[in-house]
Point group: C2
Chain length 198, copies 2
């Protein structure tokens, strides 16, 4: 059934959200139009503004509105330890579930030659620069416990070694094949404390 | 953990969507910012336009961009039979799963004195006008199989009787307490064919 064109367009547009199919998209559109028009306006505006304002931190590639994210700007975070993660959601998971007080480097993915994702796409040139500066003494490699995550960690471990920084890999507890974002708090905390030298 | 303000605002705004909590809202925001910026722009725009353009059909209260919705405008739909439903999603369910070829009246809710929703809020003045016009001969009362849906159907059934129109209530198949929108195709088709005189 075809609705008014603007409604069809909205339903279609909602399908860009993760896990949202036709039926859910319809429910979302109907719900906003029927009983949450103000909330809908707020969402349209927040989305437009976020897309316009949110870029990546120049130093760690985390989402940021300014040149540097809050964590890179904070003098209370230990600049000698960098936790390397695949995604912004992983930063959140580590912040919420561990007592890590260093800084981050967000790869925005993992090595995947088949998809054309190599060291450059992951910002490893940037990471190399930071290792060259000499301030960073330790990398905690918190990429996913997947084949790609392991390969990425191993590649970055070599990079660290060549610049005289130590690299540890989080290990115990993260279920094999699991994504960091969905790991429970205790498991992730254990993975941090049980990290081992590469 | 606090993100950039524009990101916090976006995550918060996503929570207006049905069934979306903090965690899902975060995933949605991250997904759009990380890998679907174009789709995100399209969503922001489609949402703004839908909220601006989509109102309600003057005749049946269904969502519509113009004064009348497609179904009310179509001369191929039988104007003598009106299917009365609670929500736009119900119109969709009936259109997709039955061979109903009449028109609709969308209540946008059901009678609920406790929430201050009376006949006026459901547009029953409008429905009364249409019954008075004399073109409508039958109302199919397809409100939900809930206490409120039954009360609403009964109220509208009386209204129909006072204007010399017959009223049938869809009956068999819709599980008690169930909402029309989630009923499977066969059940809904059966509910239509098994409707009985009120
Ligand atoms: Zn940063
Ligand atoms: Zn209409």
């Amino acid at each position: 059934m075809a609705f008014a064109p603007a409604l069809d367009a909205l339903i279609d547009a909602f399908r860009v959200l993760p896990g949202v199919g036709q039926k859910t998209a319809q429910r979302m559109a109907f719900h906003l139009l029927q009983s949450e028009r103000q909330g809908g306006q707020r969402l349209a505006q927040a989305l437009g503004e976020a897309l316009e304002r949110i870029g990546h931190c120049r130093q760690c590639r985390m989402f940021a509105e300014d040149e540097l994210c809050d964590i890179c700007r904070s003098s209370r975070r230990d600049a000698r330890v960098l936790c390397v993660v695949e995604s912004p959601a992983d930063v959140l998971a580590v912040e919420q579930n561990t007592d890590f007080r260093g800084r981050y480097f967000v790869l925005m993915g993992h090595l995947s030659p088949i998809d054309g994702i190599g060291p450059e796409e992951l910002g490893l040139d940037q990471l190399r620069e930071r290792l060259r500066d000499g301030e960073v003494k330790e990398l905690i490699l918190a990429t996913g416990a997947t084949v790609e995550g392991d390969a990425t960690a191993s590649y970055i471990g070599d990079l660290a070694a060549r610049h005289g920084a130590s690299a540890t890999r989080i290990a115990h507890g993260v279920p094999v094949g699991g994504e960091l974002e969905y790991v429970d708090a205790g498991t992730l905390a254990q993975a941090f404390s049980g990290r081992r030298q590469l």
